[in-house]
């Protein structure tokens, strides 16, 4: 039941994307308002379905938080992206970011719901996942991923906006905020993402310490999360100490997000201890 609702949410987020796009192309604020409304409704349905899944797992007698496999993590990833985006939209009062962010959410949902390799059934927890750290670890990691996702979208917007030399001659670029604002917002997202990733790595190593006998075992997922952390540490140092702004930071952030994606999906092709996140 919950997975059927969740597969519909995919289309809701696609609808939100469509209206954000319409807003950008037609330059009519009303479409933006529709898009935001759709997004909020989608998020409400999303939360409802996740809670329902949680309840259903208890009814099956194998109750656990819905964070235990690739399907559930994709659903949660998409949730964190939309939630974080709506907060940013509300704080900045600008909707143009929506066009760039909603595709991430709806692609994650579509991958979860329609990929033949992903099992959407509720499965019991393997012994290694039976820990109180599961919830904290997953929440911190995925809010980190979501913040980096937004940073990626903002970097893309920044690089697009640079094409806009003569003050908004191109239809699309005019609604994108000034480069300075994008750069600032991007920095804030990187800070949030970095903090969350750090917390994710720490909670992960506390957990690993009790489950695998070592707080750090150079498992590919651990190593890739460290690689991601190092890249964003470089971003922060180059910005805060060396004063880099704009294009260089945007490019570094895009590299950083590709590391995030590899940490999330790529390591599944490498052997390691995190195998439950594969299917």
């Amino acid at each position: 039941m919950n997975s059927i609702i969740l597969s519909y949410i995919t289309f809701v987020y696609f609808g939100a994307f469509f209206f954000y796009l319409l807003m950008m192309v037609m330059r009519k604020e009303i479409f933006g308002k529709i898009a935001t409304t759709i997004c909020v409704l989608g998020l409400a349905g999303h939360i409802f379905a996740v809670v329902l899944r949680w309840v259903e797992s208890y009814k099956l007698g194998i109750g656990h938080a819905p964070f235990s496999n690739l399907y559930e993590s994709l659903i949660f990833f998409s949730f964190t992206i939309i939630l974080l985006y709506l907060i940013v939209e509300w704080r900045t009062k600008n909707r143009s970011l929506g066009v760039f962010v909603t595709p991430l959410a709806f692609l994650a949902m579509a991958y979860a719901s329609f990929s033949p390799n992903i099992n959407s059934r509720i499965q019991p927890l393997v012994p290694a996942l039976k820990s109180n750290w599961l919830i904290t670890h997953v929440i911190t990691c995925f809010f980190g991923y979501a913040a980096f996702g937004l940073s990626f979208a903002l970097s893309a917007m920044y690089l697009l906006k640079r094409l806009d030399h003569n003050g908004g001659s191109r239809f699309f670029l005019r609604l994108i905020p000034d480069k300075g604002i994008l750069d600032d917002l991007n920095y804030q997202m990187v800070v949030i993402g970095f903090l969350m990733l750090t917390l994710g790595i720490i909670t992960g190593s506390v957990w690993a310490h009790s489950a695998w006998g070592s707080y750090w075992s150079w498992d590919p997922k651990e190593t890739w999360s460290l690689i991601t952390w190092l890249i964003y540490a470089a971003v922060l140092h180059s910005r805060l100490v060396r004063g880099w702004r704009g294009r260089k930071i945007a490019i570094l952030c895009m590299i950083g997000f590709s590391c995030v994606l590899f940490t999330y999906f790529g390591v599944n092709y490498l052997a390691g201890l995190h195998s439950y996140a594969k299917s």
């Binding site: 019991p124 720490i202 750090w216 690689i227 890249i231 470089a234 100490v241 390591v267």
Partner: protein, 474 residues
């Protein structure tokens, strides 16, 4: 700014180590090397990969420790350089940070008041002197190091909050050094090992994970019981070993270890890592006697114990029990030493019927595999006792608490560095014909939006306060 400071320093080695450019290069270098470590199979996994390499390549890989990158000397060297870079950068920047920490700007600076929004300068009713007193009272309550400068018609105040935040990045850097120190302590004074214990068995040594060399635990650990629980769909639910810790034959503690719930005894932690089956010492045999009075008996036999053959004065023994003999499943070796004649020994399979189906005649062709080799008896193996063994991972790591302390400090340091700032406020209270004018201005080390919000909040607060005081006086 740091670039300027670099140039000032006469020592080129110092200049090299205090550059943030080096930090960024090192961070990216470490990232790249770590990527290599996830692409090249490491440690145990490297065997198959190494076999396909040419001799020259293999030599290069071995010389560079590419099969164990994360423990290679040069990898540690890189981390060492990063630590050095971090320490020298921190020392190098200290004078500047200290200056910002201790700086006391004059209260009567005019510059901060330029370009301030109108709402931050407002007229209040009330006599100048009392307004000054009221404002100063409120201000002192909320801000530190408040200083005033008064002249005839203008009263200046300045104060600040959060000047310690300049040291935020020191907390983060220190935390990284503490974590590295924890890792070093762990690798020097700790160990990682593993051991398999059969149910009922006990060990006082384990094998090091890296070298397989035995290591003494300093006490004895016995596995009393191992159990595995399954969900309805057959996937494992829980593995559990009940352990007893002994010293000089005395039981000191009973503990159980489950996945995610290790047992800890005398600084050494035991983790449930794997399990398996081994055959025990007992088996059950069905013996068919096809003599003058045919009988069939089922008896339980212990390995190596002489047992009387039914209907005979001869003895036999189960000389060996194998879990999987010749890849054809469990089997036992029967050895019969009759009073007259030659010793006979042969293997009896538990899966005799299936083997016979698959390879007809096999067991009769080879006397060593023939269950009827000692006439007129036929041996049938009912089953063999199996016992679980538990695979325990054993670790001692005295550096862990340092690592956790470092993690706490790092998160705290992030909050100070990213979410708190050093805010300075200037207040100017001017006597005017129509009343008293209060003007506010401020600056922050970061988060300029935050300081604007703080100033407008402070402005409202002061207006309310002065108005209330005025009413009270009236």
């Amino acid at each position: 700014m740091s670039a300027l400071e670099n140039q000032k320093h006469p020592n080129p080695v110092w200049r090299f180590f205090c550059s943030v450019r080096l930090t960024i290069v090192l961070l990216i270098l470490l990232a790249l090397v770590s990527i290599a470590g996830t692409l090249i199979p490491q440690r145990e996994a490297s065997m198959a990969f190494a076999r396909n390499l040419s001799t020259v390549n293999l030599k290069i890989f071995l010389a560079l420790d590419l099969f164990d990158i994360y423990h290679a000397i040069w990898f540690r060297f890189l981390i060492g350089i990063l630590a050095l870079n971090l320490i020298i950068c921190s020392i190098n920047r200290f004078p500047g940070v200290w200056k910002r920490f201790t700086a006391l700007p004059r209260p009567d600076r005019q510059k901060p008041f330029e370009d301030q929004p109108g709402e931050l300068s407002f007229l209040v009713d009330g006599e100048w002197k009392t307004v000054v007193e009221d404002v100063e009272q409120v201000f002192r309550k909320k801000y530190r190091r408040v200083r005033a400068k008064a002249s005839n018609d203008v009263h200046y105040l300045t104060g600040e909050k959060g000047r310690f935040t300049h040291f935020g990045f020191y907390l983060v850097h220190l935390s990284i050094l503490i974590i590295i120190a924890g890792a070093i302590v762990g690798s020097i004074f700790g160990f990682e090992a593993y051991v398999n214990i059969v149910e009922g068995g006990q060990v006082d040594h384990a094998n090091r994970t890296s070298s397989m060399a035995p290591i003494a635990l300093g006490f004895t650990v016995r596995c009393d019981r191992f159990s595995v629980e399954f969900y309805d769909n057959g996937t494992p639910k829980e593995y559990r070993s009940d352990l007893t810790f002994l010293k000089d034959g005395k039981t000191l503690a009973n503990m159980s270890t489950r996945v995610n719930h290790p047992a800890r005894f005398q600084g050494i932690t035991f983790y449930q890592a794997s399990y398996g089956m081994v055959v025990g010492d007992h088996c059950r045999l069905k013996i068919i006697y096809a003599g003058s009075t045919p009988t069939t008996s089922v008896i339980e036999v212990k390995r190596g114990v002489q047992t009387l053959l039914p209907g005979s004065r001869d003895h036999f023994q189960v000389a060996d029990i194998r879990e999987n003999f010749m890849n054809m499943g469990p089997a036992v070796l029967i050895r019969i030493q009759p009073a007259q004649g030659q010793e006979t020994s042969f293997w009896v399979f538990q899966n005799h019927d299936e083997i016979e189906k698959q390879f007809p005649g096999l067991t009769h062709k080879f006397i060593k595999l023939n269950p009827s080799a000692f006439k007129p008896y036929t041996f049938i193996l009912r089953d063999v006792d199996t016992r679980y063994y538990t695979g325990l991972q054993i670790a001692k790591d005295p550096g862990v608490s340092l690592v956790w302390a470092g993690c706490f400090l790092m998160v705290g340091g992030f909050f100070v560095t990213f979410f708190m700032s050093h805010r300075r406020i200037w207040i100017r209270i001017t006597r005017e014909k129509t009343g008293t004018r209060i003007s506010l201005a401020g600056s922050a080390s970061k988060n300029p939006v935050g300081i604007e919000r703080e100033l407008s909040h402070l402005a409202r607060h002061m207006q309310d306060h002065v108005a209330r005081k005025g009413r009270e006086a009236a």
